[in-house]
Structure formats: structure tokens, C-alpha cells
């Protein structure tokens, strides 16, 4: 890793470099009262001090609706199966979102490599940016508030300048060619530490993670508990749509009007839908809302954990904002811990309210 200091004004030079080097530069922008990652045509559009975005930038690696191939029924031919081409710089990813991408990498580029994900991922240049926790952000509970890999550049905001961590060869080349920078001084490093301290202290008390996977397993069959949490679920799937760690998809065929040609595509799916666990002859092994909500968090806190040692959540808080009935990792963990650890009462749990 190489460390540099750049002025805030130098962001425009960095942006110019990105625009010349990559087919597309995307970053957080305002949309009404919310923020979204979208294509940037000028550095003035980017809002690097954004709280969060409606969808995570993972949408660039696993899009909501993606063509897998086209087919011709009359000849049996399959064509247009190449992953989408083009390079992209993603400016302004928060530590939680980069941590989420690292988890997605294990899923889509681990034992089985998904060529569509892999192509999009490998043609991306990632520039992280430091943040400040907002109400409901739980990254610190999941160890996702720091990031040490998975990016090319990382910008830590020191007020009038950025402390830049440079992690890749393309990143160093870009910095050398486009951006005027200097070596960090003792004062810069001191300010970096100060900033880190402020960041860590800004977190509200986190939910108690003590023995969470075991506890979850032990309370799995507590029907009353799960009905209390799950019966309110609107079964909308908004939580999974906005989650940077959710990766379920459904594969469907669409036949063109003429009946001969068509397309196979994949679209986001989620375990909150009643169809997700329905099998042949209509049997559904998660027939109730409670069983589906229980499963969602089981997968996050236990299933993935027992496989990789990591929980499938980076605490980004998007589901907390998207869920209209207040079901989110914070509220579920609170409900699980409450009877064992009554002192957790008072932990701030974001109740949602359809804010995204």
C-alpha cells in the first residue's frame, strides 16, 4: 500500500483521470431526499459525504435483471451469451459496501466462478471513501467498519484534504499521471488517527453479538418469537433488494412475440417471497411469513457463518430503511438477546419506516 495526501481540489484531476481511463465513472448522487449510485458526467455531481444509497453499488456486479443468453427455438442455437463488456470506475464506496463485495466475491468467484459477475468485477476500479455512521448503521457490530482490501484507492476525508491509500498498480499509475500529491507528514498521520477516533466514537451502542450463531440456532424453533417478528412482514422483498450481501436470483426464459427466439435472463429473487421455497407439487417448506423472515436471518447469521466464518451482513442499514415494519438485523438481534441479556434494552434499534 502507498499513502498520499491530495487536496480536495485535486478530486477534479482524479475524476478527469478516471474519465479518460474508464468507459464509465459512477458515484453517489442526490435523488430527491435520497442518494443513488449513477453515472457521473462531471465531478460536481458526486456527493462523497452521502449517508447511504438506495441500492448498493453491488448492482454493477449482479444487476437486478441481466441477460444470460439469447436462443433460437427453431434451430436450437444459443447466442449473445457474452457478459456485458466495458470498464467502470466506481467512485465513493463506503467500507461496508466494499466488505460486502469481498463476500460476494467468495460466492461468485469462489468454488464456482460466475462469468457474468467475474467480468463486471474485474473490469471495475474501486475508489472507497471514508464515512461517518448514521443512525442505524451497524457495520461496527459486523466488523465491516474498516476495510483493508478490495479497493484500488481509498480516500479518507481530513477536512481540507484526503488521505489516500493506494492499493493497486493501476491506482498508482492513475495517481502518478493525473493527480498532484505529496507524502503524508507527521501531522497528516496524526489527523488521520484523530479522524479514525472520531469515527469510532460516533457509533451508537451496537447490538450484542455474543454467541449469535449459537443463540440463533437455539431459538430457531421458538415459534412464538418468530411469529412475533415475522407476522408483520409485508413479503415485499425490499430488504433483500437493497442488501449488498443478498445474492439470490431466479432464472427465467422470455419468448419473443414471434415465438421463435427468446432470452434467458436472471432477476433478483428473495427468500421473503412465498415462491422461494416452493417445490414440485406445490409443497412449500417455508409456508409462513414468520418462517421466511426466520430463514432470512438464519442464512445471514448462521448458514453463511458456518461455511465461511462470516455473517452475511455488513450492517449497512439499507434494509432497516427499506423495511416498513421495522424488521432488520438490529431488531432481530435485539429480540433474540432480550430475554438472555436484559441489559441490551436501550440499544438503539432503527425502526425503519420506508425511508428509502
Amino acid at each position: 500500500m502507498i499513502y498520499k495526501i491530495i487536496s480536495k481540489g485535486a478530486l477534479a484531476d482524479l475524476f478527469a483521470g478516471l474519465q479518460e481511463t474508464y468507459d464509465e465513472v459512477v458515484g453517489p448522487q442526490e435523488r430527491g431526499p435520497a442518494f443513488v449510485f449513477d453515472k457521473l458526467s462531471s465531478v460536481d455531481e458526486v456527493r462523497l459525504n452521502y449517508p447511504s444509497t438506495i441500492l448498493p453499488p453491488t448492482k454493477y456486479f449482479l444487476p437486478a435483471d441481466e441477460r444470460l443468453f439469447r436462443f433460437d427455438r427453431s434451430t436450437g442455437d444459443v447466442y449473445d451469451s457474452e457478459p456485458a463488456q466495458g470498464t467502470r470506475a466506481i467512485l465513493g464506496m463506503h467500507p461496508c459496501d466494499i466488505n460486502a463485495v469481498l463476500m460476494m466475491d467468495e460466492i461468485f468467484m469462489g468454488d464456482y466462478v460466475d462469468p457474468y459477475y467475474e467480468t463486471a468485477r474485474k473490469s471495475s476500479f474501486i475508489i472507497g471513501v471514508s464515512c461517518m455512521p448514521e443512525p442505524g448503521h451497524l457495520c461496527a457490530a459486523f466488523g465491516a467498519d474498516e476495510i483493508h482490501r478490495g479497493f484500488d484507492l481509498f480516500l479518507t476525508d481530513l477536512g481540507d484534504r484526503y488521505f489516500v491509500s493506494c492499493r493497486s498498480v493501476p491506482a498508482s499509475e492513475l495517481m502518478d499521471s493525473y493527480v498532484r500529491s505529496c507524502e503524508p507528514s507527521a501531522e497528516d498521520i496524526n489527523d488521520f488517527q484523530e479522524r479514525t477516533k472520531r469515527f469510532k466514537e460516533a457509533f451508537a451502542p451496537m447490538p450484542k453479538m455474543d454467541q449469535l450463531p449459537l443463540l440463533y440456532g437455539a431459538k430457531y424453533f421458538d415459534e412464538e418469537l418468530w411469529e412475533r417478528i415475522g407476522d408483520d412482514c409485508l413479503s415485499c422483498g425490499a430488504c433483500a433488494s437493497v442488501c449488498p450481501c443478498c445474492y439470490c436470483f431466479d432464472v427465467r426464459d422470455k419468448v419473443d412475440p414471434g415465438g421463435k427466439t427468446g432470452m434467458r435472463h436472471r432477476i433478483w429473487d428473495s427468500c421473503l417471497k412465498s415462491e422461494h421455497a416452493e417445490v414440485a407439487h406445490g409443497h412449500n417448506f417455508r409456508p409462513t411469513r414468520a418462517s421466511r423472515v426466520r430463514y432470512r436471518f438464519f442464512h445471514k447469521f448462521v448458514g453463511n457463518f458456518s461455511r465461511t466464518g462470516k455473517m452475511l451482513c455488513v450492517g449497512c442499514s439499507r434494509c432497516g430503511k427499506a423495511c416498513k415494519v421495522g424488521i432488520n438485523p438490529g431488531s432481530v438481534i435485539e429480540a433474540l438477546q432480550k430475554e438472555y441479556l436484559p441489559d441490551t434494552a436501550g440499544v438503539e434499534v432503527f425502526k425503519g419506516g420506508g425511508a428509502s
Binding site: 431526499p33 414471434g258 428509502s356
Partner: protein, 287 residues
Amino acid sequence: MTPHLFAAAPKPRVAVLSLASDFGCQVALSNFPQLLESLETIELVYWQLVLSADLPDDFDIAIIEGAVTTTEHEQFLLKVRGVAKTIITIGACAGTGGVPGMIDSQESLKQAQQEVYPSGQEGAGATPVADARLVPRPVSAVIDVDYTIPGCPIDSGEFSNILQGALLGVNERTEREPLCAYCKIIEAPCFYLMQGIAVTSAKAQGAATTATPCLGLVTQTGCGALCIGKGRPCTGCRGVAIDANLPAAREFVRKAGRSVEEFDAALRVYNSYYLEQRSGDEHHDSA
């Protein structure tokens, strides 16, 4: 040579039929840019809007628009079900009872008849208002339906997709969940958030707000959040989703500081039949 998957099987004979509706879905169909390509895959034997042919005695697929509002409709549907192998309904009227379904009881039917035909006549010298008029119902209340294409009007692309599926014998695959996830996919800030802000600032200025509550909370997805993307709340035209949790949705509306009565009134526009069927079912819905 690769075997041709389109052996010369006869094209399925298709009839487009209408009950009580405003023909909006048929107009949407006739405006379908790829209609001619679609027509190559079928033999259109009857479509009042575009053909002069009479309804033949036999056909394979019936595409039905409109709500069931007379005993004549009922008898017609039973006959059609006896003839057609496949029944596809198009639009809200046929699918949920739609706007005609706002007349949801014998009393409101009587009242509407008196308002519209005060003399008891349907027009000068015309037949007397039939006692045969019924409280409007969806087609599925009378006969089994194989494929339902929701919406007011239907999306012709979705129609084509389902029609091609039907021709191939693919099982019906209804979207079950409500719309909200799709608002996230198009990254449209939620109306309850936007209106919450609007209501707060209007109240601060002493102004009244007339925002309609968004029905996407319970409405079947699949439209791509079309209305929300265009800046209008969902009006529920695709019907209440199979997975919808109406009691919890009402509770959310209440907590968001909006009127549950307004929400229900808005829902009645397309979903009165559904609400009538489920009235009395006010406890939590956990399925």
C-alpha cells in the same frame, strides 16, 4: 440439418372475447408494436374490434376482457370454458372485477341502476333494465382461468410473454409479492417518505395535503413500478398480491400518519371484489 422444432402443427385458434369493460386492454393489444409477429404464431378466429367474422363454435384459446355483470355473461363463460382448452384473462376488469367491481353489493347495484336509468329503461324504447344484472365479479369467480394478465390496461409486452408461454404449455407463473422491492430496483424514493416530507412541510405552512396513499404495499408486482417511476403512487390496478399482508400494510399506513380509510377507499377502485371476499378477515395474516 437441425430438427425443426416447429413441425407443421396447426396454429392454435384464438378468440378475443369481451364482457363488461371499456375495451382499453383490447386497444392496448391493437397498439402492440409486435402484434403482427405475435399473430404469426396463432390463428385469430374472432376479435370484434378488428375482424368482422362471427364467433365460431370451436377455438383453442379464449382471451377474455371484462367483468362478469350479467347472467348472460355467466352462461357465455360456461359455454366458452366448455370449448376452449386455455382461458387467458386480460386486464383488471376480468382479473379482479376492476372498476365495475366498485359496485360490490346488491344495494349498491340497485342504487347505481336507479341513478343511471331513473326511468328503468336503458334507452328510449329499449329493453327494460334486466333483472339479470349481477354484482360484478372477475372471470375466475365463474370459471377456471389458466392465465391471468393483470393491469389497467395490460402491458402488451407482458401479454405477449404470457401468450407465448401458454402456446408452449408453460405453467402459469404469477408474480406473488407486492411492488415495494421494485421501487428499490428503480431507486425511486418511497412515496410514504416523500409524502411524509410534504405533509410535514404543508402542516408547517398550515396547508392541507391531498396525497393519495401508495397501494404498492399490497399490489402485485410485475409492472416495473411504472407509476412510481412516473411520479404517481400505485393505484393497485394489478390486484392485491397473493403474498400481500393487508393488516400489516394498514398498520404501517396508520403509523406513517396517513388515513387507513383513504388507503382502503383507494384500494376499492380495483379491488372491491377482493375486499368483499375477505371482509371480516381482519386479524393478522401470517401465510
